[in-house]
């Protein structure tokens, strides 16, 4: 059983600038209004663990499961009877860079955690993608 929601939009930001936002711990809390803090080793590696703290909730441990520079990034958080994943991907199109953030829940209790946990996260995806790309553009303008 898989429960999945995603949000995609086009941007003129470069893959490098978006990748930098995805792999810099300090940028995560800037790009995600729900997040208070993120820590993980830089540069991140598949299998490396990190920690995220949402506002008003306990810290959660996560593990990177995919890191393809300029293409895709994913990490997962374990839930009882389910796995919560955050697939990020980007691809160049004729109309610009297409950036997708998704929330995916797999496992026997995915149907339970989808409405309980996934829906709220999914509602925040558009704002996060907009902030990631807006801040990537700002980084580009600043020459970072």
């Amino acid at each position: 059983m898989t429960w999945r929601r995603e949000y995609t939009h086009l941007t003129t930001a470069t893959p490098e600038a978006v990748w930098k936002r995805w792999t810099t711990p300090a940028d995560w809390a800037v790009d995600d209004p729900d997040l208070r803090e993120a820590t993980f080793p830089v540069p991140p590696r598949v299998g490396a663990a990190g920690r995220v703290v949402n506002h008003g909730t306990p810290a959660q441990r996560f593990v990177f499961t995919e890191l393809q520079p300029g293409v895709a990034m994913n990490f997962r958080i374990g839930l009882p009877g389910a796995v919560l994943s955050f697939p990020h991907s980007m691809r160049q199109t004729a109309n610009g860079l297409s950036v997708t953030h998704a929330v995916e829940i797999t496992g026997p209790l995915a149907a339970v955690f989808g409405p309980l946990v996934g829906r709220k996260i999914a509602a925040g995806l558009p704002a996060v993608v907009r902030l990631v790309t807006t801040n990537a553009l700002a980084d580009m303008a600043a020459g970072e």
Partner: protein, 473 residues
Amino acid sequence: MTASPNAADRVPAAEVDVIVVGAGLSGLTAAHRLRQFGSTVAVFEAAPRVGGRVSSADVDGVHVDLGGTFVGPGQDRILALAEEVGVSRYPTYAAGRNVIRWRGERRRYRGTVPPMGASLLDVGRIQLTLDRLARTVPCGDPAAAPHAAEWDAESLGSWLRRSRASSAARDLIAIAARTTWGCEPDEISLLHALHYIHQAGGLSSMLDTEGGAQEEHFVEGSHEIALRLAASLGEALRLDAPVRRIETTEAGVRVSTSEEHVTARAVIVAVPPSQRTRIEFSPALPPVHAQMAQRWPAGVLSKAYAVYERPFWRDHDLSGQGLSDTGPAFITFDAGPAGPDAPGVLLGFVGGVYAREWDGLPEPERRARVLSSFADLFGPQALDAVGYIDQRWGAEPWVGGGPTAAPGPGAVVPYAAAVSAPVGPILWAGTETADRWTGFMDGAVRAGERAALDARRLLTSSSTDHEQTGAAR
């Protein structure tokens, strides 16, 4: 002889019956009617173009309205004015199904009610309640509503929470708020929202396409109405002429730009309330007027148009009308010209919180994001636009935002009267001063016509005063 620092001081003051400040639809209508009454006018417009909050552009050979676009039943004054100047209209394309992107899913539906399952009941409850409360707010005098102070003390957003509105109802009302006032529900006075709804004949009348305020648009464009009124004014219209000062004199008013002084018996100031602060009044306006101008800011609403070789959505039985809870374009319309072989045009609104971020982006990024929104609703073909243009009303220097003023909590009861109350020979126009369809083009025309009548009365009464004074001598 000492050279004057002001070019205006080097020429003698001209004299007319009435001066109009602002050549938007309201000011132009006022000037037009006054001339029909036989009065002489001078019209000063700060911008290099006429129209104010109506404007137009040509995109890949297709005409688009960048500002006020739609008209509907009950908007008698704009319809009459358009007919008078020979601008015709055609129905907004509404055949086929509408689309909603909601909670991560895309759905198609017919009619005006989106498919929201059980939430629909709550949406209906909120709409009925707002309509019921709105009917108790007297048009043109919101402070006289039975619960005026209580309703003005909170925002539309806080009322929604207090009324235990579902998240679907809150999000739908947020879409309506962004489109209508260019702001979030938390930013606008509940009393103002109710007054506005009543003035527009209810939420359905305000928001619907068929039978509502989006039912038709103009073949030649709404801006053409302003252009034709302006053409008839000839040299009485001055563009690029910001009014710096309005001085009340014994005989009436003296209005000054950097280039000239003009005297008149009355002045009609037809600019958005927040822009009134850019004019120096002598003597100063009563404090409540200056305070109102600070507390009635314009909303933030932008529009984006994408032009396609053909309206591909119609091939899929889609109307082009879409709603989205993600933005940046959160509501769309088919704004294509009439005709079987006409190109396709999608219009998207970007307002409130979305506009504040989107407005600051470079044009290629704004385009990419709007086309993404369109593709979310109508599929990947929406990315293949052959033309694109957007208009950020919040970036317009002499308008300051759009589509209309959005007073916050506490700003209506003490200040609503100052929006339209004359100060001696100083009269006010602009859509915010209308007692029906405020915020719409119809409100602008109504307000201009009312101000013209008020000015005419002032001219008549002052003529009578002069005659009586003369007779007494």
